[in-house]
Amino acid sequence: MKLKRSNAPVFWLLFGAGGMLSALFGTALVFLTGIATPLGLMGPNAMSYPRILAFSQNWIGKGFVFAIIMLFAWHAVHRIYHSLHDVGVPLNAFTKLICYGTALVITVVALFALLSIGF
């Protein structure tokens, strides 16, 4: 008998990595990009086009932005998917596709956008 290999560890790993990354960086990033910069606390050019473009063209910056977006998305959908049952939504192929599909779309869009920015 051949045992079917489960894909659960992959999703669990993405969930864990995203959970850790968001627990460490989420608070600071939301504060900086969503509150401090829009309110002008970081100066008028903190997230100006040339600066963010240069940051995203650097391979470390690009990798950081990609990791943040991708892992946050996979973490969130995994958690949402497994909470659906608790509010009476059935776990099936459709709900799984909606949840993990969302993360996949976010990942692919982020990848293409970051690659098209160039190095």
């Binding site: 968001s22 401090a36 946050f72």
Partner: protein
């Protein structure tokens, strides 16, 4: 179903609003709901990256959208959710990670939790300080 079977079935406790019955369930639910904040932020960022790839005008439009009062309010909600996410992430960490043995002794759950909170706080301060140092 016979009359007797129906009688045997008896009282079935309704599950509606089960998580409001106990503070522990409430905390669980709040923790799970923080996932929506993490997802929302990932979507905000991916939109930003797409706008960045489209050029300066598009990027400035995204920045202007972030300056709207609604966006600021949303980010305040996201900030509170992220703090709660980080707090609860390390709270449950002793239960989700393998047992940790240091010097033959099992590391206490509360030690793991407090270390996680401390590291998270330090990283937050360092990242904000770096951004402040590099402000313009």
């Amino acid at each position: 179903m016979s009359r007797y079977a129906a009688a045997r079935k008896g009282y079935v406790r309704p599950m509606q609003g089960w998580w409001r019955r106990d503070p522990f369930f409430m905390r669980y639910m709040i923790r799970e709901i923080t996932a929506f904040a993490v997802l929302a932020y990932a979507i905000i960022l991916v939109v930003g990256v797409v706008r960045l790839a489209q050029g300066e005008v598009a990027w400035n439009g995204w920045l202007a959208a972030l300056r709207s009062p609604g966006a600021i309010l949303l980010h305040v909600v996201l900030l509170v959710s992220m703090i709660e996410h980080a707090r609860s992430w390390f709270e449950i960490m002793p239960k989700t990670m393998p047992m940790m043995i240091v010097g033959g002794e099992r590391v206490e759950g509360s030690t793991i939790m407090r270390t996680g909170w401390a590291v998270s706080a330090v990283v937050t301060v360092v990242v904000v300080a770096l951004a402040w140092w590099a402000r313009s």
